[in-house]
């Protein structure tokens, strides 16, 4: 077994590195740059029942060591994703984690049921934490009861393991984590973006047309690491960590904090080869640290 391999419910990953949802589309663009089979997995863009156009532009704004986005879950809708995007990805030897979003429980359930039966979809990621849509998304992610219920409803129909994606915009992230676990979640992914704003000093108006946006990138990394640490200590299901990862020590640190694998979002816009670069750099860094197998990193901070 390769020293980079990790096991997660539904997923045997060649390595613990995958692009985060929304930062990699359905893989077509990055496939121009490198072989997607190299990746541990791919978290594809959020899929909703109907196609969505998303929010007006500007949809992104730079912030110190971070960015705000309010894409608004633009996607071609379940039908196209299932008949066009996911089959296209079949040519690569890489498990797909399908990010599922909606406005009501019924939407989530409908998307989950159908998408979980696509052959290369090995897990679902329930997006209950998108801050950029008026209904649905984050409202599900801030109330433990609602989060637990939704998880239960989706678990009932899903043909593959279900990961719940947690919002950092909460007082106690472990409370939502435990509710998702109690609802039957097979794993957790975190963090989604922090709600933020930027203003234009000339007009006094928000720069993002939507007003608020989701903050991501290196700026949020300390918050993400803290939440991965807290959550992984308070549940017994595995965690996929993300939030500001851009170099190999970030991978090491998220795993030390308690993540079994990691996802890379914003960094794909800065270094378009970041995922394969991290995968290549990891063995050498493990050597330097005197660590034989990447799994030895997982939750190392809890033991000391």
């Amino acid at each position: 077994m390769s020293r980079l391999q990790v096991e997660l419910p539904g997923l045997t990953l060649k390595n613990p590195i995958m692009p985060a949802s929304g930062c990699f589309g359905f893989g077509r663009e990055y496939a121009q740059l490198y072989d997607l089979s190299k990746l541990g997995a791919i978290m594809v863009k959020a899929t909703t029942l109907e196609p969505r156009f998303g929010n007006p532009t500007p949809r992104v704004a730079e912030t110190p060591a971070g960015m705000l986005n309010a894409i608004g879950l633009q996607n071609p809708g379940l039908e196209k994703v299932v008949t066009e995007e996911l089959p296209w990805l079949e040519q690569y030897d890489v498990p797909i984690i399908a990010n599922v979003a909606g406005s009501e429980t019924e939407d989530y359930v409908a998307v989950a049921e159908r998408i979980s039966n696509v052959p290369n979809v090995r897990a679902l990621e329930l997006n209950i934490s998108c801050p950029n849509v008026k209904c649905g998304g984050i409202t599900f992610g801030t109330d433990p009861e609602v989060a637990g219920e939704l998880t239960r409803a989706v678990k009932a129909v899903s043909a593959v393991p279900v990961y719940v994606k947690l919002s950092p915009n909460v007082t106690d992230v472990t409370e939502i984590a435990r509710a998702a676990e109690a609802g039957g979640a097979d794993g957790l992914t975190l963090i989604n973006t922090l709600v933020g704003m930027r203003f234009d000093p000339r007009t006094g108006k928000p720069v993002i047309a939507n007003g608020t946006g989701g903050l991501s990138g290196p700026a949020v990394k300390p918050v993400a690491l803290r939440m991965v640490y807290e959550v992984s200590r308070s549940v017994s299901i595995p965690v996929i960590g993300m939030g500001g990862i851009s170099d190999v020590d970030d991978v090491i640190n998220f795993m030390s904090a308690g993540a079994t694998a990691v996802a890379v979002g914003t960094a794909n816009f800065v270094d378009h080869f970041v995922c394969p670069n991290l995968i290549d750099a990891l063995p050498d860094r493990l050597d330097e640290l005197g660590i034989g197998n990447v799994t030895q990193l997982i939750g190392r901070s809890h033991r000391i």
Binding site: C23, G25, E29, T57, G66, M67, G217, S246, T266, F269
Partner: protein, 255 residues
């Protein structure tokens, strides 16, 4: 092929107030087949500023590309500090450029640029000329001190300058010049701020035209949906400026 390359800084100089001409050397230059495409430049070496900056390729050839940009915010100011010892981390070439073939040899083509929308028209004009098309340039700037490349454009064809404050050429906007131009054009090309593009497209209605757009970008390659514009011309209802554009046929993008 899209490359990510540490290109060598061959030259960098300020050619007008806060306007820089940067010449980069590397393999990426050989991948460019069309004027009007752009590259995505990492401004600094740390996490702030974070995002790459999209800059049009003003000219290319012989293993080099020329960029012309305004040092404005934190990113472009850092780029302007790159000196011939150094390198620049560049992703590109990206997007789709101006179709040179849309202009028939022997006809006149109109090129209208505003401010930092002027640079990609230079490479376009050179190629039109080579293809036997006669380029006519109408270039708008804020004021005399930020005008650049007037002579270079003049060498390629008839060139009109407009400045908002009248400190060089016609006082006013490019549309003030257009109104007085007596030519027949087979096609027009334009790059600049949206209000200008809009005015040009209205003034040239009926003539085939190509417009280059700007939009805030994340990835620059079509993956993040940051740079989406509405369109009625396809059934998705949108185009992405970074990968479907930045150049679109007039009428495609709702402005």
């Amino acid at each position: 092929m899209i490359r990510n390359e540490r290109m060598k800084v061959a030259e960098q100089r300020e050619i007008a107030r806060n306007i820089y001409e940067l010449v980069l050397e590397g393999k990426l230059a050989d991948e460019i087949r069309e004027p009007g495409r752009f590259i995505h430049v990492k401004a600094g070496e740390t996490m702030d500023p974070l995002l790459r900056r999209p800059i049009s390729i003003a000219d290319y050839g012989n293993g080099r590309i020329t960029l012309i940009y305004r040092a404005e915010g934190c990113g472009t100011r850092l780029i302007s500090e790159k000196s011939p010892h150094g390198t620049a981390d560049v992703l590109g070439p990206l997007g789709n450029g101006f179709p040179v073939r849309a202009a028939a040899p022997g006809t006149k083509a109109l090129l209208v640029g505003g401010g930092i929308g002027v640079p990609p028209l230079y490479g376009l004009s050179k190629q039109l000329k080579e293809a036997g098309v006669e380029p006519v340039h109408v270039l708008g700037f804020q004021s005399d001190d930020v005008v650049f490349y007037e002579e270079k454009f003049s060498r390629l064809g008839e060139t009109h300058i407009a400045t908002v404050d009248g400190s060089r050429g016609t006082k006013g906007f490019v549309t003030d010049v257009l109104a007085k131009l007596g030519h027949e054009f087979g096609v027009y090309y334009s790059c600049g701020p949206v209000p200008m593009l809009k005015a040009v497209a209205e003034g040239m209605a009926g003539t085939e035209g190509y417009l280059s757009f700007e939009e805030r970008m994340g990835c620059g390659i079509g993956a993040c949906f940051a740079c989406v514009c509405h369109t009625d011309s396809n059934d998705r209802g949108y185009v992405k400026v970074c990968s479907d554009g930045p150049v679109f046929k007039a009428g495609v993008v709702t402005i």
